[in-house]
């Protein structure tokens, strides 16, 4: 009833768009991704955008989300132009995007990831939100780290995060790819509910049956343009197919084989992650397709059959002989070629020339005793380039200068030149324009006609229909149906996919949600802290047991003083490591602070000039940190190189200022640090306050979350509109500030302007950070654990010098601890699931 009132109202007054993109152009280098796209988005309507890979859908979403800046064109929201769109402003006015590849920070928990978009969301609201968007199978506790979730669960978090800000416009980019039927139904119910509440939904998918079910309005994209837009009821599925492809299918695809030759390639009982006991065959002259919903095992299977990913069991047979050995090397040698779905990452070598790329296919044929015949290589490469009509200026052009279609042809040429017996192709035309696409189909068919076997995995039903002689449908990691002859149609593939998944029993939650208790404990944030505390107590107690003088008051005082120094310098190090950088200059900068103190806070100076001098030293270190951060961030230089140069340069300055140790530092500096407060020296109290304060900021505030998110996943941060450059500079500034404080404490302990005191602290700070369980790649680390790491290092160091003053032991112990801790954490966290990007 309500429906009819609404629609009659709509008929009376034309619906007002909530968002309106007008004449949007965008190019990447020579490639025109969008050529003047208009998109009108209306509240309470599902607007589907369909088109092939590379048609420009993702670029359009990027621009609507403020992640990409359009070259020209305007965006209006609620009839007001959006001046300078960026991810944050677009989210705030009410645009949310569910990305095809979830943009999450893996080192943060589910709740923290949600809070990156909606800072005020609490745990209970987050639970409710997750329950609203996910079936019980996919729900997860919100304190779970995202790295531990299955791919489907990550999509749920991505969806929940998009809804957490109560958007007016929701973009969904291929949202059902990793989902199973029940989860898809849940999503569709959610979409209906949002639609009822007046949310505008833009639904991007290549699954026409979904579009058919959901869409009120359909826009078809091709080659960067919207070539047609209609109300959904005014267009048929076959019209859409022809619009997407650009011409009738018969003109795109080569004729199929009349028959096929003898058995060529066979898998028996092939089992691995994601697929289970797969038996299948490919004959000579035959093109066999693999179909299935994303995550049903077909991709994992074809990769394992090529040896790219490992398999657990089963045989691969070629020409009746079982292939011995594993890995791509053995399989290629036997005659199995492979073309990956991710051309840039796993296919071509963009920064090598076309000749070198092709040459990798036939190095054996053009080399003698391991030496390459360059003339032979060039002529063979030129031959392939001509035969495949690869458009390039020369075979000496870098592959990055070729278009996507020509890169794909080069990849195809390389694999064919290796003269395989069977060619496995994962998504043969992903990111390839329509013209080159047809050529690739012709080449694949020509190869099959020459007697090759071809196995193709594709998510595009039309492609499978046009290209394949036989199609195998995957579900739950097994082949559940085979279509051949006239049954190979997009419609029957879709139907087979659906019936296969509908019949699925209540599935296991995700593919790999894992974690026995022990593993979870080993991988937790608190684990290092516990271990470090226990080890520290053991070392202190053990040494005390060996020598009763070890824990004398004076010795404890000295241990605590140095603990403060190590802690400050290690947290300085952690500050940069958390955002994915590193600061090798920490030690030298602390050393320069000591030298600076010998000039600015000399023995005999009065109280005020000592305070002034201390402030100048600390501010100087802070300024140096800022300078370093700005250099690294805004010139995009590798932090490691800049800071290692800094390390040497600062030491040079120290040596220039104090060629030998000279210049006594005022005793008041160390005396002040030793003032007892609550039974502890002032310096230690300050250390504990800083540790507690920074830990709270890092784990309890929005800034702390953003800080960790930048280190954990820079891309996700970009999409969320986090200003990673400012945070990077802040990280180096913080590092400089903490090094300055640590440096002054060190100055108090050393008491004289010695030019070389600080240098060992760079290594020590890294050791401490690694011991504290921080990830050197960024995103993960705890200040508290770092403090306990510092305690362990200081205890070890004091104990070893108490037992044997030889510096050789000291170095070896620190080095050994670094390696052992790094190896331990690397292995303990090895099991986290990395979804394929």
């Amino acid at each position: 009833m309500r429906d009819s009132t609404v629609s009659s109202l709509l008929r009376l007054t034309p619906p007002l768009p909530v968002m309106d993109l007008h004449r949007v152009y965008k190019s990447f280098g020579p490639v025109q991704a969008l050529k003047g796209v208009d998109l009108v988005i209306i509240p309470g309507e599902v607007h589907a955008i369909v088109g092939e890979n590379g048609a420009g859908k993702s670029t359009l979403i990027g621009i609507a989300a403020g992640v990409l800046a359009a070259d020209s064109g305007t965006i209006q929201f609620d009839n007001k132009p959006v001046a300078a769109p960026n991810p944050k402003s677009m989210r705030e006015i009410g645009v949310s995007v569910v990305y095809q590849h979830p943009a999450l920070a893996p080192d943060l928990t589910v709740l923290e990831n949600l809070q990156l978009a909606a800072p005020t969301l609490d745990a209970r609201a987050a639970d409710t939100l997750i329950a609203r968007v996910a079936t019980p199978q996919l729900q997860m506790p919100v304190n779970r780290r995202v790295a531990e979730l299955s791919l489907a669960q990550r999509h749920i978090v991505e969806l929940a995060r998009a809804l957490a800000t109560n958007p007016k416009v929701l973009f969904l980019d291929e949202p059902t790819e990793p989902l199973q039927q029940a989860d898809v139904r849940k999503l569709f119910e959610l979409i209906a509910e949002l639609k009822g509440a007046g949310v505008a939904i833009v639904y991007v998918s290549h699954r026409l049956h979904e579009v058919d079910e959901l869409a009120d309005r359909i826009s078809v994209m091709r080659d960067g343009e919207i070539i047609d837009r209609r109300l959904a009821r005014a267009i048929t599925a076959s019209e859409i197919v022809t619009l997407i492809a650009g011409k009738p299918l018969a003109q795109i695809f080569p004729p199929k084989a009349a028959g096929h030759g003898e058995l060529l390639f066979e898998t028996r009982g092939l089992t691995g992650r994601g697929f289970d006991h797969v038996d299948m065959t490919v004959h000579k002259g035959e093109i066999v397709g693999l179909a299935g919903i994303e995550g049903e095992g077909q991709r994992e299977f074809i990769r394992a059959a090529a040896g790219i990913d490992t398999r657990d069991a089963g045989d691969i047979t070629l020409n009746g002989r079982v292939i011995r050995g594993e890995g791509p090397g053995a399989l290629r040698k036997a005659g199995v070629g492979f073309i990956s779905d991710d051309r840039h990452k796993e296919g071509v070598f963009l920064n090598l020339t076309l000749r070198e790329n092709l040459g990798l296919g036939f190095l054996g044929a053009i080399s003698r005793f391991g030496v390459i015949d360059r003339t032979g290589e060039s002529s063979k490469a030129a031959g392939i380039t001509e035969a495949l009509r690869i458009r390039t200026l020369s075979i000496e052009a870098d592959l990055s200068q070729l278009s996507g279609g020509n890169q794909q042809k080069a990849l195809f040429g390389r694999e064919i030149s290796a003269e395989p017996a069977v060619l496995l192709v994962d998504e043969p035309t992903k990111g390839v324009d329509i013209g080159a696409r047809s050529e690739i189909y012709q080449r694949l068919r020509a190869a099959a006609d020459r007697g090759l076997g071809v196995l193709v995995s594709s998510s595009d039903g039309i492609e499978l229909e046009g290209l394949c002689d036989r199609v195998l449908i995957f579900a739950r990691g097994r082949v559940v149906r085979a279509l051949s002859g006239r049954d190979v149609t997009d419609a029957s593939i879709t139907e087979a996919n659906l019936t296969a998944t509908v019949s699925r029993a209540a599935a296991t939650p995700g593919t790999a949600a894992r974690g026995d208790g022990l593993h979870r404990l080993l991988a937790s944030d608190h684990f290092p802290a516990i271990v470090l505390a226990v080890l520290t107590v053991i070392i202190l107690g053990g040494t005390q047991a060996m020598n009763g003088y070890f824990l004398s008051p004076i010795s404890v005082k000295s241990i605590l003083s140095f603990l403060g120094i190590v802690t400050f310098l290690s947290i300085a190090q952690l500050a940069t490591i958390l955002v994915g950088a590193i600061d090798l200059s920490v030690g030298s900068l602390a050393g320069l602070c000591v030298v600076g103190a010998s000039f600015l806070t000399p023995d005999g100076a009065d109280g005020w000039s000592l305070i002034g001098g201390t402030i100048v030293v600390i501010l100087g270190a802070l300024m140096y940190g800022v300078l370093q951060g700005v250099t690294i961030t805004y010139l995009r230089l590798p932090a490691i190189v800049v800071t290692i140069a800094s390390f040497i340069g600062l030491q040079g300055i120290s040596l220039l200022l104090r060629p030998t140790a000279a210049g006594e530092i005022a005793d008041e500096i160390s005396d002040t640090a030793q003032i007892p407060v609550l039974f502890l020296p002032l310096a230690m109290v300050l250390t504990l306050l800083v540790v507690g304060g920074l830990e709270a900021v890092l784990y309890r505030t929005g800034s702390g979350r953003r800080y960790r998110a930048v280190g954990s996943n820079p891309l996700a941060s970009l999409r969320l509109g986090i200003d990673s450059r400012r945070l990077m500079v802040a990280a180096f500034a913080l590092s400089g500030l903490l090094t300055g404080i640590g440096g002054m404490l060190l100055a108090g302990q050393v008491g004289i302007g010695s030019p070389s005191t600080g240098t060992d602290y760079t290594l020590m700070s890294i050791t401490v950070v690694v011991l504290g369980g921080a990830s050197v790649a960024g995103g993960r680390g705890s200040i508290l654990s770092t403090f306990l790491g510092a305690a362990l290092v200081q205890a070890t160091s004091s104990a070893s010098s108490f037992i044997d003053a030889n510096s050789s032991v000291h170095y070896a112990v620190i080095g050994g601890l670094t390696l052992l801790a790094a190896i331990f954490f690397s292995l303990a966290r090895r099991h986290r699931i990395e979804p394929r990007a």
Binding site: N351, I372, P638, I640, V641, G649, I766, T818
Partner: protein
């Protein structure tokens, strides 16, 4: 001599001045520096001065080739100082002043083997235990410092006279250190440019995932890279010991930044991705050696040299980026 494929041996022609290969760029930079040096301090370009610079150049270039290989494989080796210091102790302290050819050769071989072994251990930790190269090499470096102090007991020792004689020697007017560099450099350049192993090595550095897909054993290449690098550091340390006669205990220390600087000054990118050029790194090593001599000739001490090195490295990575920005601005 057109070697278009790798751009490694190509000399600049007028046609492609805009897109010069790395080796040519670093060569031009070096010529410019030497010209400036000749004006500021003419004494740095007389034949005696050049001849005395050459051994230091060779000694820096040798480990720089190792560092180059590691950096090209997307790593960074901070164990240069430890490996060089420790192998220098092996070749000076352990022969115990022997003049017996066999003994000296034994410890020479031992030093080279130890270098390769240390590299192999770091390589194994990086490759099979998935520890980031930075942490693995920094830890190995510290352990080797410890070993160096322990074996040397903190005192420097004279190298065996035989080594001193050889590395201070000259054949056909060219210092022997340069001969050693020429042979090792030529082998590395040839292997990278002309052999299947070299091509695969480059493929791994440019795109490891794609290299895996074409069946190249990544782990073997990674392990071999660190092993060869360790070997080259040891060769450098042996040359250094022979030339300096009695190297200090931590004689490898300057080579930590020095080798990275040579790679950077050669214009090679940090972290693989593009091909890089070993010849450019070797030229980079000459640039830095001459710069150090110039700084000294101008009356600044060793610490100013540190400062100059630091500035050179930061400009080396920074200037191309600044230039790129200016071009696009």
């Amino acid at each position: 001599m057109t070697d278009g494929g790798t751009g490694r041996l190509r000399l600049p022609s007028l046609g492609d001045l805009a897109d010069l290969p790395l080796a040519a760029k670093s060569f031009i930079a070096t010529v410019v520096l030497v010209v400036i040096g000749a004006i500021l301090a003419p004494s740095t370009v007389n034949s005696a001065a050049i001849l005395s610079t050459l051994p230091y150049f060779a000694i820096l270039a040798m480990p720089s080739i190792g560092q180059h290989l590691v950096i090209q494989q997307r790593g960074l080796d901070l164990s240069v100082a430890g490996i060089m210091s420790f192998t220098a102790v092996v070749v000076t302290k352990l022969p115990d002043g022997s003049t017996h050819f066999g003994t000296v050769m034994f410890w020479l071989a031992a030093a080279l083997a130890v270098g390769a072994l240390c590299g192999a251990i770091t390589g194994a930790i990086v490759t099979y235990l998935f520890v980031p190269p930075l942490v693995a090499t920094i830890g190995m470096n510290a352990i080797l410092y410890g070993l160096t102090y322990w074996v040397s007991t903190g005192a420097s020792v004279q190298a065996p006279p035989m080594l001193v004689q050889f590395f201070e020697g000259v054949i056909l007017y060219v210092p022997n250190t340069i001969w050693v560099l020429a042979i090792v450099g030529a082998v590395v350049v040839f292997v990278l440019a002309r052999t299947v192993i070299g091509r695969r090595f480059i493929a791994v550095s440019v795109n490891p995932a794609a290299a895996h897909a074409v069946g190249i054993p990544l782990k073997t290449y990674s392990l071999l890279t660190y092993t060869i690098a360790g070997f080259l550091y040891a060769v450098g340390a042996v040359m250094l010991s022979g030339y300096l006669v009695s190297p200090t205990v931590l004689c490898g220390l300057p080579y930590l930044l020095g080798t990275i600087a040579a790679v950077v000054v050669g214009g090679n990118p940090i972290g693989g991705i593009t091909k890089g050029s070993v010849v450019a790194t070797i030229i980079g090593a000459f640039f830095l050696t001459y710069l150090a001599q110039l700084v000294t000739a101008l009356g600044f001490g060793g610490s100013a040299e540190d400062l100059a090195d630091a500035i050179i490295v930061i400009s080396g990575v920074g200037l191309p980026e600044v230039a790129r920005r200016l071009r696009h601005a």
